[in-house]
Subunit: 231 residues, 2 copies
């Protein structure tokens, strides 16, 4: 069986968990705390980043980019209707649009929001470093960034059936993976971004999403609405 090395609140890991489940690909789990840079993780992925997917047979795939494209290569354009979920559906231009948005969520949103807030509110507490308390000025800046990204997601959700176009794609999965981490931390101002909320409800209702809604990490309680499908 394939083995996924992940961390419960890592958005990149979550996107691959959802993707594998959507595709009906079975896998087992190992958890790593990415801030510990353990030798076992570095031996598999010298970048020390998550997720890592060890395929049955031994091949090791590192990072959501390599993993998602590896899986997408198994979906030749002519035969995409046969797959439970086309990872990058539509025309070549449609696929470029989905990839632009994957880059937005896994790159820009991660850099400006998710990575920073995980560092401030989760990793730092686990490390129990001397300066354990989150930095209020940094949190304020991140929360302003959240609003910018929510506006953009709401705009896309309002204009299109799915974030990248007419069909669900890996762009929706990547966005939902990040929002689910932020939502676990109570950091998403849903009320002001109705189209984004409705789109996220649809993502959250998918069976592939359910395992994420059951995740809990010690020391950080999820808000009551985190696992509600109608929130």
């Amino acid at each position: 069986m394939h083995k996924l090395t992940h961390f419960r609140l890592c958005p990149h890991s979550r996107s691959i968990r959802i993707l594998l489940t959507e595709l009906g690909i079975g896998f087992s789990f190992t958890e790593e705390r990415p801030w510990e840079y353990r030798q076992e993780l570095l031996a598999m992925n010298p970048a020390g980043e998550l997720p890592v997917l060890q395929l049955q047979g031994g091949t090791v795939l590192c990072g959501s980019y390599a993993i998602s494209e590896y899986l997408a290569e198994d979906q030749p354009v002519a035969a995409r209707d046969r797959y439970p979920l086309p990872i990058f559906p539509g025309s070549r231009t449609d696929r470029a649009e989905a990839r632009r948005l994957v880059d937005w969520f896994h790159g820009k949103l991660n850099r400006e929001v998710t990575r920073e807030i995980l560092e401030e509110r989760v990793y730092r507490a686990y490390r129990q470093s001397a300066d354990g308390a989150p930095d209020a000025a940094i949190l304020r800046a991140i929360r302003a960034n959240v609003r910018y990204h929510m506006s953009y997601i709401a705009y896309l959700a309002d204009q299109r059936s799915w974030l990248a176009g007419d069909e669900m794609s890996f762009a929706d999965i990547a966005a939902a993976a990040h929002l689910s981490c932020l939502d676990y931390l109570g950091e998403v101002p849903w009320d002001d971004y109705e189209p984004a909320r409705i789109w996220y409800m649809r993502m959250k209702s998918r069976p592939a999403f359910r395992p994420l809604l059951a995740d809990r990490i010690s020391g950080v309680a999820a808000p009551r609405h985190y696992a509600d499908l109608d929130f």
Copy 2:
């Protein structure tokens, strides 16, 4: 003709300039200063990031990920020998390895080195902000990161013909694009990483690299060896 919007010292832009030239695809240029977030750039790419490739016909491709994969889709596995440069050559696993390294260079190396040093030494000076001088502590931290990344590139170059394996791939282009920016700023300690230096000499000698070696930006002089093929 296709039109590339780029900035001369942007590593992502440079990787696409090299790639297009290697593939024999003609294009014209427009330059943007990414730190200005001009409306014209945001209208094409709401992320405000470079490069942006406007195809003849009007399709707009944003970011090195979407552009490189769009171009790679034009190279069906069965017919790759027909192309001047297979972007992701070899088996499916080989391609995952090349993508892991593209992610390393365009993601990790960018975050830990290139983006930070451009901010400190180039963008900040252009913006003429009140705190115009580079921060010495930040520069020290970045220069330690450069050594870590140079070790890894030297290790790969020592073990393999090209960074990702037996054939040149977009991973070599991405790595060389970052090193060329750092080298312009005199930030690469070549002497301590001989295999990396020899690999970079091979990249630098390619005709597709020549236009980058002629680039100059006002206010920052390139070191004498920057354009030397034998340095």
